[in-house]
Symmetry: C2
Subunit: 886 residues, 2 copies
């Protein structure tokens, strides 16, 4: 067995070698191969990082020989020598995993400089200021990245080297600063910054590898589902200098607009600067148009390279480039991150440009990107208080309470608060806080700053460079002119306009454009899985239809009981001493239910509507125990002060009534309501409830039919554990349905089926399907019961589980495919064995989760049902699942 | 296909035909075939009852032709004619299902009498009094059984025919009574008692069939797991008269004592009476010895028949016989019901008599019977108040509150009360109340009365014939001399002595005799399934060993935290703001835990002890919320009245402290604690807890080892849903265990394993077994999660489910084999696939349930673990399971 290469020169690799060379290395090799201007270099492969970790952080044997050979190759191309005094070759050292992880890993520039080579560089370039500046930057970065010295301490020293415009260069000051920086590093790490360039390289490579296990890198992998063991490559590339003078500069560019998708080069350029200055948002760059004005030839070359790269990669690219003394160097090309809107437009445009197929276009737009389009839009009016404006870095709108610290953002979010993270600028150390926040605001940086890139990557609303506001970390507030907003106050962030408002401003759904319509039409054409929505009222049903739902997969009837008059009748029903008074109370609710169903059927004309019979335990409809006790205490207190007999009598009457309610509350209280007297168990104990609901469904169906509306009710019996429960309730459903239809002489096609939401139901699906015409997997409850996790309570420890790596993802967000998923498969297989035509769907939250949808497609489900706003995501994910299957 | 026979004459059937002829019919046919004196007759088969119910209560075609033929056969043998005036043949009509259901079905005697035949009978016997008495009885029974006339109304009329000793026979009175009885029947049912004997027979047979669907019959089948569709047969047999004079009589006899098992004829005899008088306990019979004295020849014949029947059936028999004018007639033989003690002694004796094999002996003693031996024995002292004494009808001892009505007994028992049902006498209508009661007391009847038979059948403590007490249903109390005990007062019933005590008298376990030891030794020899006990303290462990446990399968450690000092330290631990103060609090608990484990290991010397790490959620260790709120309110009230500054300060301090606790209570409160932060989830959040417990286990193990005690700890990690949880906790367990053992330089064999108590764990058993050395199925929790049933809450509706036939049995009592059972099988199969030597047990309540044990044996488990007092039952059930497998 031949060992895979430890080192691959750019001249020998290509784009197909992503896994071995990482995205960055493979991209550079590809560009080199294609003849683009790329500074020479080589990649230390991901194999090395795996070997490094396997051997407890020891480099594998033979690595440094291969590195030496590769360096010679670069020296030949560049005509310089690594560590050579006269014409020193300098390197940049960067990480690059197979899957792009922007900003997550550390970079060292100017490697190879020391007290000797800096002199050579100064002499060679005739620019000692530039040379020493580079040296200072190197020591500073090396100290930070390799030895973990806090950046602020080093920067404070380095900043002293910056001179006022026109002040003379001071060599001694530079030497002092270098010495001081090295002292700080030694003091902090008890280790020297090596002078020997190869020693520098060894430590730098080790530092890149080590940064793989950084919290921020681990968090990013966790969030993006990247396995820990893919490892990272290290690209070592000859330095070119964007800060070599006014004929130099650095920039980043997208081949198309990453926010809108418009097909124009989009990006930023900074004269006389190194790339890190742009990415970190430390200087405010100019739009890419500045380059066109200042260096038209370079711009033209860049535009042509961009065009060719896009054609070559068949996708929008994210480029990094440097201009050194008027010569363009490409430092990176990679698939450009983009907003949902841009993703869709680019995909549709590229189909029209005949670059990609429609299938590819659909596959290209991830469900997460699409979802961004569905985020609410801030609807600010003249009365809303505009606090400040910045750059609209990531689309969407969000409201939350202000917080200034990432840890605090996490803490508050874990307690259920909506938070908006406000920072001067963000760094990878803030990553977990950005994950937790609803929106991100920074006062510095541009649309390619860390904050902007990360926010877009997460599809999270973000506004950057809001220079009008001044953050005061110490007092935990920010000022915008005279206006002061403190921690905990509400703000609304508009990621589409860059505006920031005080308070909670109304938000609405965005209009979806033609690009969206085109793409979704393609998706619908490809997908085989049906998509329905969970909707309990006509408004939600309308939204669902508008967003493309093909029916209602879950209409929860209990929400219908919560209106004022209804809840009263419901309580009467619960307090009823016998079936007759219970039926009387139910009779009061029935007209409301009938009207509700009629309205929903009307909206869903021609589409199936799955109606779940009453599911929650009855005690949910009673007042809260605490409230009732308090009320009784209060009444008794008032009784003590009451003077008139009339008043006393009235108080006594109310006390008596409340005490009766309290008795019932206590009688119905349950230790574990989730596993208690709910679902079909209520209908079995009180068949009048089932009867009333079914009568309402079919009376509504009859009325709609009479109005020419096509009604397809599907009556769903909840929480079945034993097939006998189903049979008992189904008997009532069919009996009442037939009675109503016979009475009106109208025939309506309807189905009777059940939720599969308990492990036992999945296991006994074969029995249940003997009579059930459809199954709908209630994966929320199925997850609760299968893994023994209460959704209401597990929030306390599940996030910790994800953090510790005990589980990959919260099983309530994305289906636990190996546990709950097996029960779904069992349920499907056994159900269909009994009844091959059994209609099967899912109506848990997972119905809107792309990974789960792929699973459901695979398991053979007929449809998924999700919340109305997730319907487009589900449609797209279903198309992906089908296309992935092909 | 030939249709099975509708009718089988006794002369043509035999004992092998139980299913077709019912137990009674097959027994009579068998005795007829063996040449015993049996009045001739025939059986209408169970096929007829099935056909009858299938055809909506219509008799199948051809039945009555076959009956007519059978009647002719009987007429020939008896030399009498059915409906013949001169020498009328009379029939008894009785039910008889394949499985004996004593007292559950109705009987009609003297069928064939009418205004004409009664005269013939009077003339033929020369005893008009006897003839008219028979006629009155017939009309009375017919009215009651066929037409459902309340028994009391008819009996009141019939009783008027009873004359004072020596008063002359009054024919007119008899005629008046007959007319009156017929009037009452007609008034009640608007139907005539037919005069035509065949018409009587048709209605009687229909009534027997109809009684199959009586509530009492349905209840009995439910309790005994008899399917509804086996149906009943009807035996029609020529009447013989035990009430034909002083040379006649009737009796019942067991071939051995059904309470003690002593090998002597045991029973009762009543001179000049019909069998129903004895069974209903309406007359007090004499012991069987009376027959020996009064009719020595008949007794000798009976004894010989008994001996032969027992040898023939190879089991103790329950006989019914009648003596008519000095001639013995056998009316029934069937397997005799017996107490647990008797069952064991009879089985062991019969092995010694070489009648049955040891395997058969073990199979003969059901687990339910054995369990009776393990019932508590009442330990009355001189201070206990003896209220009355009766016949010890069914062994055991029980305490409960007095109730006088079966329905009320059910109601109170459903609310968790222990009740003792007190009745004059019981009838099948009281059956459901007897099921619900802990003990049964009757003031009338003997040891073969309905109350006694049923109590023994259910293994329930019963005292009958307590003539010293007088029940007053109207005032809901009973009097014993001056002592009055009202409904709701406590009594203690001693079924071994027949004594009844006021209040709650101490009870203890019985001594187990040599017969028990012999049988259990055989059972242990046969069984392959291990039996352990669930024991949390040295006392339980001692009991467990005494009763034959081979180890502890579940030692719950949380109970150890509830001592006074411990709970305080536990609360300190829960309130601790950080890991260090938490560890401090735990350090206080550790010595207690260590001492507990040491004591248990000492008792279990040489046997494995499975220790489950902390399982309940932490909030269970905090005070109740209500109590704390109340306490705070109270303190604040006192603060208002406090005068001294010192006092105020002290109150404020306590208020502060309680409020801190309240905050923590509210923080830890859970919506569904069963699915909440418990089990290994606690150990993962607070590894200090796991560490402390493991240190205590191994420190105790070391101390025991040093004392020469052999320790086999098995550390069990609870509530694993994900294999990663197991791995994380197992890491801590092994690390701490090794540390302790290394420190002491002692080696201890130990295992680390897990509970399988969630569906996900069963499904992922293959992963978990990669590291787990043993599994223990926690079938309580597995039932809760699989069927979505909270054990604490489902008591409200599960009994209704059983009643409605939605489920056969409460799944917490007997394993739900098709649902939970499948997960057990999956867990076993997948676990063993990964680790063939995986040790697997069960430690839920089901570990002591015989049916469940058979399932576990079949599923391939290594052992079951149950509560100490159920260990013998489990040992026996395990032997049964193995023998059934052979």
């Amino acid at each position: 067995m031949t060992r895979p290469a430890w080192v691959v020169p750019f001249t020998e690799g290509d784009e197909s070698m992503r896994e071995l060379m990482g995205g960055k290395g493979a991209g550079l090799a590809g560009m080199t191969k294609a003849g683009f201007p790329v500074p020479p270099g080589f990649t230390i492969t991901t194999e090395v990082s795996r070997a490094y970790f396997d051997a407890d952080r020891l480099f594998p044997e033979g690595l440094w020989d291969e590195v030496a050979t590769a360096i010679s190759g670069v020296e030949q191309i560049a005509g310089k020598g690594f560590g050579e005094l006269a014409d020193p070759l300098l390197f940049s050292v960067r990480s690059g995993a197979a899957i792009s992880m922007p900003g997550m890993m550390d970079t060292i520039l100017n490697l190879g400089l020391n007290d000797d080579t800096v002199e050579g560089l100064a002499k060679l370039t005739g620019d000692p200021e530039f040379a020493w500046d580079a040296y200072i930057r190197f020591v500073q970065m090396f100290g930070e990245v390799v030895f973990g010295v806090p950046a602020d301490r080093l920067r404070a020293v380095a900043d002293r080297a910056k001179r006022d415009e026109g002040a003379p260069f001071d060599l001694d000051l530079c030497k002092t600063i270098i010495a001081r920086l090295k002292d700080i590093v030694f003091g902090h790490a008890h280790a020297q910054v090596p002078d020997e360039p190869k020693g520098q390289l060894r430590l730098a490579v080790a530092a890149v590898f080590d940064s793989w296990t950084n919290r921020r890198a681990v968090d990013y992998r966790r969030l993006n589902g990247i396995p820990d063991d893919v490892g990272t490559a290290v690209s070592v590339q000859a330095m070119v200098f964007g800060n070599a003078g006014q004929d130099s500069g650095t920039g980043v560019a997208f081949t198309r607009n990453p926010t809108t998708g418009e097909p124009n080069l989009y990006g930023e350029f900074l004269l006389n600067a190194q790339g890190e200055d742009v990415v970190a948002g430390r200087h405010d760059p100019e739009p890419i148009a500045a380059l066109q004005k200042k260096m038209p030839d370079v711009f033209a070359e860049l535009a042509e390279i961009a065009r060719r790269l896009e054609l070559h990669h068949r996708d929008m690219q994210d480029l990094e480039f440097t201009v050194e003394h008027g010569r363009l160097w490409m430092l990176q090309t990679r698939r450009g991150k983009r907003s949902g809107r841009a993703a869709i437009r680019i995909a549709v445009d590229m189909v029209e440009e005949e670059v990609i197929s429609r299938e590819e276009a659909v596959m290209r737009v991830t469900a997460e990107r699409l979802e961004e389009l569905l985020h609410p839009v801030v609807m600010a009016g003249p009365d809303d208080e505009l606090v400040a404006e910045g750059l609209p870095a990531s689309p969407g709108g969000a409201t939350g309470i202000v917080v200034f610290d990432a840890d605090e953002a996490v803490e508050l979010a874990e307690n259920g608060a909506a938070v908006v993270l406000v920072r001067h600028e963000t760094s990878p150390d803030d990553f977990h806080g950005m994950v937790a926040a609803r929106a991100i605001i920074t006062t510095k940086g541009g649309v390619t700053s860390h904050a902007a890139v990360v926010a877009r990557g997460m599809g999270k609303c973000g506004v950057v460079g809001v220079s009008a506001i001044e953050v005061d970390y110490a007092d935990q507030l920010f000022r915008a002119g005279d206006r002061i907003i403190s921690k905990g106050e509400w703000v609304t962030v508009d990621g589409n306009t860059g505006q920031i408002f005080a308070g909670q401003v109304e938000t609405v759904e965005p209009e979806l454009d033609n690009y969206y319509d085109t793409l979704m039409a393609w998706a619908d054409e490809f997908r085989t899985l049906g998509v329905r929505a969970n909707a309990d009222n006509p408004q939600d049903a309308t939204t669902a239809r508008r967003l493309g739902a093909e029916g209602i997969g879950l209409c929860r009837t209990e929400h219908m009981f919560f209106g004022d008059e209804r809840i009263e009748a419901m309580r009467e029903m619960i307090m009823a001493p016998n079936a007759i008074t219970r039926a009387d109370a139910l009779a009061k609710i029935e007209p409301f239910q009938t009207a509700d169903f009629e309205a929903i059927f009307t909206v869903m004309d021609g589409k199936p509507v799955t109606i779940r019979l009453l599911d929650p335990p009855l005690h949910e409809f009673l007042p809260r125990r605490d409230e009732t006790v308090e009320r009784i205490t209060d009444l008794k207190l008032r009784l003590g002060h009451a003077k008139s007999l009339d008043k006393i009598n009235r108080l006594l009457e109310e006390i008596n009534e409340k005490e009766t309610i309290l008795t019932q509350i206590e009688r119905l209280a349950e230790a574990n309501p989730m596993l208690g007297h709910r679902g079909c168990r209520v209908g079995i104990a009180y068949p009048e409830v089932t009867e009333m609901q079914v009568r309402a469904v079919f009376t509504a169906a009859v009325r709609c039919s009479e109005r020419g509306i096509i009604v397809k009710p599907e009556v769903m019996i909840p929480l079945v554990a034993f097939s006998t429960e189903y049979t008992q309730q189904e008997g009532i459903v069919r009996e009442v349905a037939e009675e109503v239809l016979r009475y009106h002489g109208i025939s309506v096609d309807y189905l009777v089926g059940t939720m599969i939401e308990l492990p036992r139901a999945a296991l006994r699906a074969g029995d249940i399907a003997k009579r059930a015409e459809f199954f709908s997997f209630g994966t929320n409850d199925l997850t609760q019961s299968t893994a023994g996790l209460s959704r209401d309570d597990s929030g306390r420890f599940l996030p910790g589980y994800v953090q510790r790596g005990l589980i990959d993802r919260d099983p309530f967000q994305s289906l636990d495919q190996t546990g709950v998923g097996e029960l779904v498969r069992i349920g499907v297989d056994r159900g269909r064995e009994t009844r091959p035509e059994l209609k099967i769907g899912v109506c848990g939250e997972h119905g809107g989760d792309p990974d789960s949808i792929a699973f459901f497609q695979n398991a053979g489900l007929d449809y998924v049902s999700c919340s109305p706003y997730r319907v487009p995501v589900a449609r797209l994910a279903a198309a992906h699942a089908e296309l992935a299957d092909r």
